[in-house]
């Protein structure tokens, strides 16, 4: 092929590739630009994380376009022409340039570090008196959410003295790996109030992750974790275990239902009042092999 034919072949290749990509993207039914950014935060802490995400994204994108642009420029501009046998200038380096392109990245990453650290202090801030405390038990391959009355530790809910005073939310277990036969448990929380999760694993490491809170925390056996969040948008949000935890890891989903204080209290009351309404979570029996809450250390 001559150089011109080659160039056209190359252009045709690029156009074909872009065309194929466009066809693929337009054929996509559930893709939309919402997936290109993190979910709209539904918690105060999540919003803080989203803000630092956006800053990192903008800087990252700027660096990407700058450097990728330099690469493309060099590749297009400094091609060796056919028959050109002369050596280009043999440049071994340039101290001033090298100091500049060391110093600027240092400044950028230090700024990002400080901003991230500040955000981290918001995200990991703890109040000693959270109005709502929920016990979270993670086990293969399910979640339990335990609501204990004031003055009772959720771990003690199984004790006879506390019978009927706690609410425990279960899901139904994965039935032979069939996703359709399974409902994830729902954690109810009031909006605009700080919720503390006291998280415990009975077997392997799991991780509590709610994308709308932009937050996850591993739950390691013998290392109970305490986290706090303040949901600020009413709605139902997906959650899922993100730490690979064995055969049915994919089934460890749950939901967080953020509702008004009145709705939350009403739900709690309804769960506490026997007999349960048919719509209530099937909390009579846990999944096969699930731990009794009282067995938790």
């Amino acid at each position: 092929m001559g150089p011109i034919a080659k160039r056209w072949a190359r252009r045709a290749g690029v156009v074909a590739a872009l065309g194929a990509l466009a066809v693929l993207l337009s054929a996509c039914s559930d893709f939309n630009l919402r997936t290109a950014v993190p979910p709209d935060a539904a918690s105060v802490q999540g919003q803080a994380s989203r803000n630092i995400y956006d800053i990192v994204f903008v800087i990252g994108a700027a660096v990407f376009f700058l450097v990728e642009g330099l690469i493309l420029f060099a590749v297009l501009r400094y091609r060796r022409r056919a028959g050109d046998d002369e050596l280009p200038p043999q440049i071994h380096g340039n101290n001033r340039l090298e100091i500049i392109w060391t110093a600027i990245p240092i400044a950028i990453v230090l700024a990002l570090f400080v901003l991230s650290w500040q955000t981290l202090n918001t995200v990991d801030a703890r109040t000693p008196t959270p109005p709502v405390r929920i016990g979270v038990v993670a086990f293969q391959w399910q979640w339990q959410f335990v609501y204990a009355p004031d003055g009772v530790r959720w771990e003690d809910c199984g004790a006879p003295a506390n019978k009927g005073r706690c609410v425990t939310v279960f899901g139904t277990p994965p039935a032979g790996g069939d996703r359709s036969k399974w409902t994830p448990p729902t954690m109810h929380v009031p909006v605009d109030e700080t919720v503390e999760l006291q998280m415990h694993s009975t077997d392997v490491i799991h991780s509590f992750y709610v994308p709308a809170f932009l937050y996850q925390r591993d739950i390691t056996p013998r290392k109970d974790q305490v986290i706090q969040f303040t949901a600020d948008r009413i709605g139902i949000y997906r959650g899922q275990c993100t730490q690979f935890c064995g055969l049915y890891h994919q089934f460890m989903e749950f939901q967080v239902q953020v509702e008004s204080k009145a709705d939350y209290v009403a739900w709690l009351q309804q769960e506490l009042t026997p007999p349960r309404s048919p719509s209530a979570a099937p909390s009579a029996s846990g999944p096969a092999g699930s731990p009794a809450v009282s067995a938790a250390p």
Binding site: D30, R81, P89, I91, G93, V204, I205, L214, C241
Partner: protein, 545 residues
Amino acid sequence: MATTALRPAATYRTGLYEWLTTTDHKKIGILYTFNSLILFLIGGIFALAVRTELAQPGLQFMTEATYNQMFTMHASVMIFWVVIPFLAGFGNYLVPLMIGAPDMAFPRINALSFWLLPLSAMIALLGFPLGGAASAGWTSYSPLVQAKFSTGPGTDLWIVALTLVGTSSILGAINFLVTIFKMRAPGMTLFRMPVFVWTILVTSVLVLMGTPVLTSALIMLYIDRNLGGSFFNTALAGGNAILWQNVFWFYSHPAVYIMILPAMGIVSEVIPTFSRKPLFGYKAFVFATAGIGALGFSVWAHHMFTTGSVYLPFFSLMTFLIAVPTGVKMFNWVATMFRGKIRFTTAMLYAVGFLSLFLIGGINGAFLASVPVDYHVHATYFIVAHIHYVLFGGSIMGIFAGLYYWWPKMFGRKLNEGLGKIHFVGIFIGMNLTFFPMHLMGISGMPRRIADYSATAGWNDLNLLATIGGFTIAASMLPFLWNVFITLRGGEPAGDDPWEGNTLEWATSSPPPPYNFDHLPPIRSERPVFDRRHANDVPSLTAGH
């Protein structure tokens, strides 16, 4: 030892017996290359299995049990039997040639290092016929990896196999260090060594410091699983699951640099050759390599930000800082191309591919250094995207650059450039189709390592796209394999120095004779072959440092 060894009287046999018993670093390097290529295909098949299952929601092709083995063995094979040994193989082939030595310092230990690899790979893969390979993820977090949760022989075979790989790496690292420090030709000072040799030097130090930690952790894990130990087993008093993560990542984070530094070294040989310029800022590049090596041991806990068990600001800061030497290198490569006269051979295309893809792997890595951002994307597909832009966009692109670049030296024949370019275009497009959508899956919350996903979460089409990309990569391997086949049967003869190279391997024949050199050119800079080629040019052009 004489650095200008004479050709020995013995014939240069190439029969099977010779390949099985060779202690010639070049033959061992070629054995590494082919062993890694075969395992690349095997690991690639595991990856295709994963992508096939994830093409649509619902389990169509395999059970969760099979799926979990597939992603575990994909990562294990690609890391321990493909990327690390592929690069070690280049080191084996090239380090003695590049420093003007006749062989590695310990040729028989060198052969042992290699033969441990196919042996260990077979042990790890033996799990499949024996009832199931390892399936706890390549990270094998405890307590999931303990006997109670991971039954069957697969995990124990995996532990034994990785212990052998670790032994192979440690022996290889000692061999490289002794070779580099004791066997350089007269005139080959440390700061005249090719950058590739520098990257192997730093990598060997990382291996020597990190791998014994992993190897002993694996032995402890074996004791936990089989002899009632409680190092990491939380079911027993004293067992600490976080301890495993600390020792595992103390090796496995530096392992990322073990897997990228030599690839950077390859690119740093290819770009200057095809730009016809010296590497811009050679010394800065060497210091940046050493800096990455040093900082590399202070960032392991960024894999553990979500455990609640590490001091976050320290590891966040160090992780941000390690972006700096990497950025310096990126600017050095780009500046090397500036005002050059670039020839777009397949090797150069792969090197430019490395730059543009590894750049993404560096930038999305900076996201993970920010702890609040990591809280969101940790253990999601964002991580999968990041690691593949580093290890595929970086290491694998570098490896292919090296294959196309040094194949003529290894076999005396050039790989076909037309097929090579088809290979490159296919792999470049396929790679981005596969891994770019994973960023979007990750930030919208799709966890990694799930055999199936909710059909209503908005991940269906991104997954389909990634699967199409995966098969594009697989298809692009066909012209490559055909290229290897026809070249081995008789490709275009290469001659000693087909690319107008800079470093000493181009001063000997292709393939080089046993013990490498009849005579060496004088070594007065980091480009002795360039200096010899242009000895009579205008002095201003060839002035060294």
